[in-house]
């Protein structure tokens, strides 16, 4: 049973911030796909909530715009908006691929990119602040967001040069499944050497994260099958170090290592 709550629908960010600082036990609701199910299932994260601030009526949170060097995605943009955006399609095809694999169409029509980060499921106040995503995410269901802050947008720097990327999501089924392992690799290979690499996983790790250790190992190395294998094996070992042994390790570790190899391979050789 959902408790009876106060419900606010501010029209501006300023109005929303004012409500946030005035009210106690208040939560923001955007797409609602986590908040409403959390309420309905009486999750401990919601038992004390007495008021919701619905940010769906704040126009600037729903825009996607572009400057010369970056793309600005309003935190309230749904995954459907991200998937259908020509500028995101052009600049960040991996984000389009990952977004189009989130839940079902009904979920993507509601769920927002900002909500996904804020919830930090293994999935501003007086001043505005900007920080890298990896600093923002702390641990499952926990971020740097203070009680009186709102995530307004996600800024993505456009990539210079010729990067190739690859992304894979492994779930229990092909579609409409919660991720078990996700791996993304983005590489810039110049003269057969790795000039830049961004390598990250979600779900296999407690929160989405990049692997700076593995990226450092790969930098400036000549691309070879041995190198990709070594990186994949070590990524698996690193994840095991972070998560500890679980009952599923015997199954997951080889799959994770194989996926890492596959995604690095695809990114190097430009396969989709």
């Amino acid at each position: 049973m959902i408790p009876n709550i106060e419900y606010f629908t501010p029209k501006t960010i300023a109005e929303a911030l004012q409500l946030l600082s005035k009210q106690e036990n208040v939560k923001i609701i955007a797409g609602g796909t986590d908040v409403i199910t959390g309420f309905h299932q009486e999750s401990s994260r919601f038992t004390k909530t007495g008021a919701l601030i619905d940010i769906n009526r704040i126009p600037e949170l729903h825009q996607i715009s572009e400057t010369t060097g970056s793309v600005w995605i309003g935190a309230g943009c749904t995954f459907t908006q991200v998937v259908n955006s020509p500028v995101v399609q052009k600049e960040f095809p991996l984000l389009v691929q990952a977004s189009s694999g989130v839940g079902s169409l009904q979920i993507r029509n509601r769920a927002t990119i900002g909500g996904n980060f804020v919830n930090n499921a293994p999935q501003s106040a007086d001043n505005s602040r900007t920080m890298p995503l990896q600093e923002f995410l702390i641990r499952p269901y926990c971020t740097q967001l203070a009680f009186n802050e709102i995530v307004t947008n996600i800024t993505l720097a456009k990539l210079p040069g010729s990067y190739h990327g690859s992304y894979y999501k492994l779930g229990r089924r092909r579609g409409v499944a919660i991720s078990r392992i996700t791996v993304a690799a983005l590489l810039n290979v110049v003269d057969d050497a790795i000039a830049d690499i961004r390598f990250a996983s979600g779900a296999a790790t407690p929160i989405g994260m990049r692997f700076p250790e593995i990226e450092a190992l790969a930098m400036n190395q000549k691309v070879s099958d041995d190198l990709l294998r070594k990186l994949a094996i070590q990524t698996g070992e690193l994840v095991l170090e972070r998560t500890g042994l679980r009952w599923s390790t015997a199954y997951k570790l080889p799959v994770l290592q194989q996926l890492c190899y596959q995604e690095l391979f695809n990114a190097v050789y430009g396969k989709e």
């Binding site: 709550i5 796909t33 309905h40 619905d54 169409l105 009904q106 409409v176």
Partner: protein, 151 residues
């Protein structure tokens, strides 16, 4: 704690007073008495409660009723044409796409939302649009052919 809302229900303007904690699915079934919309899983996985809000298919178990203030809501009852079944509904019958019927309203609404945006969908388009609607009886093939035949 309640709110006054005004929205379009199946083409007609509707004013209602709703509790802030009322989910859209409960509002539709218990307050509006439109029981064509079904509730299955309650967590946005089965699609039985799918309705159309501002031309997009959504799970009505994942919205509060207050959220549709000012918007346009279409439920399965809104598919009725001239007092009878719409073409899409007739094609579901012709293709044997209805068995126990529990998933059918959600299937119809997801299909209808697809056809609104894309009147000539491919098999893959239909599969993507219906991926969030579970059926345990007919096995999907008949449903997909019914939608493809409604061009």
């Amino acid at each position: 704690m309640q709110k006054e809302i005004t929205f379009t229900l199946n083409g007609k303007v509707q004013h209602s007073t709703v509790n802030n904690n009322r989910r859209l699915v409960d509002f539709i079934r218990d307050d509006l008495k439109l029981t064509g919309t079904k509730e299955g899983c309650s967590v946005g996985e089965c699609g039985a409660c799918t309705v159309i809000v501002d031309k997009s298919a959504v799970c009505s178990c994942l919205l509060f009723a207050v959220q549709i203030d000012g918007l346009e809501l279409v439920t399965v009852e809104g598919l009725e044409e001239a007092g009878g079944l719409s073409m899409l509904q007739q094609k579901f019958i012709e293709h044997g796409a209805v068995q126990c019927g529990f998933c059918t309203p959600g299937m119809l609404m997801s299909s209808y939302a697809l056809l609104l945006k894309n009147p000539n969908p491919s098999v893959d388009d239909v599969k993507t649009a219906l991926a969030g609607n579970l059926c345990r009886c007919t096995g999907y093939k008949q449903i997909i052919s019914a939608v493809l035949d409604t061009k």
